[in-house]
Amino acid sequence: MLEHTLRRMGFGASPADLAFWAGMPVDTVIDRLLNYESASTDHDAKIGGPEYVGITTSAGNPFSANTLINDARQRWLFRMIHSQRPLEEKMALFWHNHFATAYSKIAGAVGQERATRMMDNDPSSLEGSPAGQIQVLRQFATGSFPGMLLAMAKDPAMVYWLDSQLNTRTRPQENFGREIMELFSLGIGHYTEADVYAAARVFTGFNWQLAGDRASNLTSYYTFLYRPADHDTNAKTFTFAIYPDGGKTIPARAAAAGEQDALDLILALARHPATAQRLATRLYKFFVNETSEPDASLVNAMAQSYLANNYNIKAVLRTLFQSSQFRNPANFFQRYSWPIEYVVRAIKETGWTGFTVSSALTPLTNMGQQLYEPPDVNGWATGPEWISTSSMLSRMNFSATLASNQRFNLARDAQPHRATPDRLLQYLLARFPNMGFTSTATNAMSEYLRSTAWTGTDAQLQTRVPGLTRLIVGSGEYQFN
């Protein structure tokens, strides 16, 4: 149960994590992971420390996580491995997929430094610079959903990603207006083409601007800009209720007050029952089970919590994590690990001393998930769609890379269990929690350990322990979370 909780509410547990949480009642564990506001935020300060996973900059440059995208990727992986607030990173990943925005389009327009800032800037890194998109998603991770929708409508990365800066009174442009309904809130089937045109007009005038010291890409940054002159001041009528009294028309209002249009629409989208159901279903699949039909009673209870608590995400998550379904062993290992989840859990369970997360970047791309680079605005295709021959080879090969790197640590840890191959096997199967192997598979592992006569010498441990580690971590049984 503890391992399950730490896998789902975070990215798994290292042996030290397990020791830390051991003996605590599960309700306490869940409560502390969910209410992480008081937990330390010292993770970035640990970067570079010898007891943590390493980072490697390109060509020996200083680590520049706010202005170089591969460094930003490493910082995020580091946080997933070492943050004291694992749920914050887990939710940031969930929302990254929900508001899927790709760095490459933005970098093509404004260059890598400013684009990296737009994706995940830490505001303390440069006076006046706003939080990057993922940092905003962390801030709203368990907060107000309409607040997050509004923040995304005004997020410079989102503005450019969905062409909002081109959407003007005389030349409305539908891209953002469509996706905020199709993908970010209601879902398809709950709006019409006419609603798309109206929504496009609501967001006319939403734009971005370059600020800071423009002399350098390193010292300048983009911020949101509302341009009243570009806003369509006419009334906009929808097919669904915009106001609590059932009114479907956003009234004509002065251009200077035009941002209120967006607020009206976003509140309407946030309180729509279809949004409640859709968010509850997506969260259920992400945290409980995606291999069988969602449990309608829990999904409905989550949707109800959302509607009854001012569209607050933590209320939904509390209902979810306190449910019997979350704790039901039948739901353990009933999610396909996303590549990020797979890699981070493998690192936490295998060990990281002497390993650098830069070694995970190319494998993650090959597994189909590069951070800050979802394939399109619909996010990644999850569940069984993660699995292909190519992605499975990438997963198996990453387990080989990691096990090879951790060869001596793994062999040392295994020394107390070296007496027989089967004792060693039992030890490693327990170290890497999985959905359970049949005897066919464990026999194959046991025979692997005895490929040549078992001696249990240090030299043999240094060969076969990493070998068996890769077999387990690369197995089908380990791909589930």
């Binding site: 469509r178 995606e290 295709a381 069984p384 769609e385 992605s391």
Partner: protein
């Protein structure tokens, strides 16, 4: 999107057990079937191609007035003659390679394909084109259903997806399609070397040989691993392929090189999936340069290199290439010198067995709301040819399959006669 595949996994478990049970024996079958078989290469243009910029009715006065900044000047288009309604057409100026294939009589362009009440959503649209159904868009795809009709046991390399993720059209009930993005990195690495590495590969193969009927998702993953490990050595031969001509150095060119390599090495694959993206041109499409120009360069140069390569190898007559996208785009350009999501669009078919030419009629771009060739108040192109009739033609006349069975209905009527 994620949930739909789950049902397919559930239904497919027993067959997975059968299909991937004996990779070695299957290899022999594949080699025996050999290269004589015809193959199909599907090229998907991701994002919704603005097909009015691909095949241009350049004399239509409304084409210029409705697209004041992005219309391709008549003087620049590559003229290909007129369609049956006497509309003069031209290819995009950057499609010089496709023009030469057209002139050789091996490129068919099919105008105004689509379906009634066309979806403007990328994702729904892709699934409708993928499943060949407007109502049940979450099941297996049309190519997957074709693969499902193959006699068991099916060679794991019967189809080859050059993308990492299995696209809807390739999803099958009983056949797992390998994703091979790059044959040269399609390998099994090890923390150890020599015999020790061999022990690991043997063990991993045995561990994944367990395909439990009561755990369908594990069965699916293990089947996929089996397919990967069982095909590594054959795919490795493809990595040694060196084309005699030069392909563009981009993802599309690399994928097509791998496809030509698989054909050259007689892998026996029948269906290939290739895609190239960036077609969601909401802004700054450009005219004589810019975003759309670059898209046409990627598409045209890649297909031409592939065509020339196959031609030189004598493989053209066994190859058919189908090019499509999930929707066409709005006729009027938007305020960003781009185009928003639209409806009807063009498909293209090329290959040694293709009867080249222009099929179907171009839309009249007149703004009259009653204009029968347009829809949505004359904003979008209305389809004339059901896209499924093109699939039907390919299934029946090229792959020797039964389109009624595969497509779940008779779509043969009105099929353009390009084969």
């Amino acid at each position: 999107m994620a949930f739909s595949r789950r049902q397919f996994v559930k239904g497919g478990v027993t067959a997975f057990t059968f299909g991937f049970a004996a990779p070695q024996a299957i290899c022999d079958i594949a080699f025996a079937q050999g290269s004589a078989a015809r193959n199909l290469v599907v090229v998907y243009l991701s994002g919704g191609n603005d097909s009015l910029s691909t095949i241009i009715p350049y004399r239509d006065a409304n084409y210029t007035t409705r697209r004041p900044t992005i219309a391709i000047p008549a003087a620049n288009v590559l003229q290909i003659g007129s369609d049956s309604s006497r509309v003069e057409l031209g290819l995009h100026p950057r499609l010089t390679g496709l023009k030469s294939i057209f002139d050789a009589g091996r490129l068919a362009v099919i105008q105004r394909t689509g379906y009634a009440n066309q979806s403007r959503s990328h994702f729904t649209g892709f699934d409708i084109w993928g499943t060949a159904s407007t109502t049940n868009t979450s099941g297996p795809g049309w190519l997957g259903r074709y693969l499902d009709t193959m006699p068991m046991p099916v060679d794991p390399l019967v189809a080859w997806n050059t993308q990492r993720e299995t696209p809807r059209p390739l999803m099958a009930r009983t056949v797992g399609v390998p994703a091979i993005t790059n044959p040269s990195t399609y390998a099994f690495s090890s923390p150890n070397s020599g015999a020790e590495a061999g022990y690991e590969r043997t063990a991993q193969t045995r561990i994944s040989s367990h395909i439990p009927v009561d755990r369908p998702h594990l069965a699916f993953v293990n089947s996929t691993t089996q397919a990967a490990l069982g095909t590594l050595d054959r795919v490795a031969t493809v990595a040694t392929y060196r084309p005699a001509n030069v392909y563009p150095n981009n993802g599309f060119g690399q994928a097509l090189t791998a496809v030509a390599g698989a054909m050259n090495k007689q892998i026996g694959t029948k269906v290939y999936w290739v895609q190239t993206g960036g077609f969601d041109t909401h802004a700054t499409q450009g005219v004589n340069q810019g975003a759309y120009f670059n898209l046409m360069a990627t598409l045209g140069d890649g297909l031409k290199a592939f065509y020339d390569d196959l031609s030189a190898q004598g493989l053209l007559s066994s190859t058919l290439v189908l090019v499509y996208s999930e929707f066409g785009r709005r006729i009027n350009e938007n305020g960003s010198a781009g185009t928003d999501h639209g409806a009807g669009a063009n498909m293209m078919v090329l290959g040694g067995g293709v009867r080249g030419g222009i099929y179907g009629t171009a839309p009249s771009l007149s703004l009259d709301p009653a204009n029968p060739t347009l829809e949505n108040n004359a904003a979008d192109v209305k389809y004339e040819t059901d896209f499924r009739s093109v699939y039907a033609k390919i299934l029946d006349s090229w792959l020797g399959s039964n389109s009624v069975t595969v497509l779940g209905g008779d779509y043969r009527e009105g099929a353009p006669n390009f084969l």
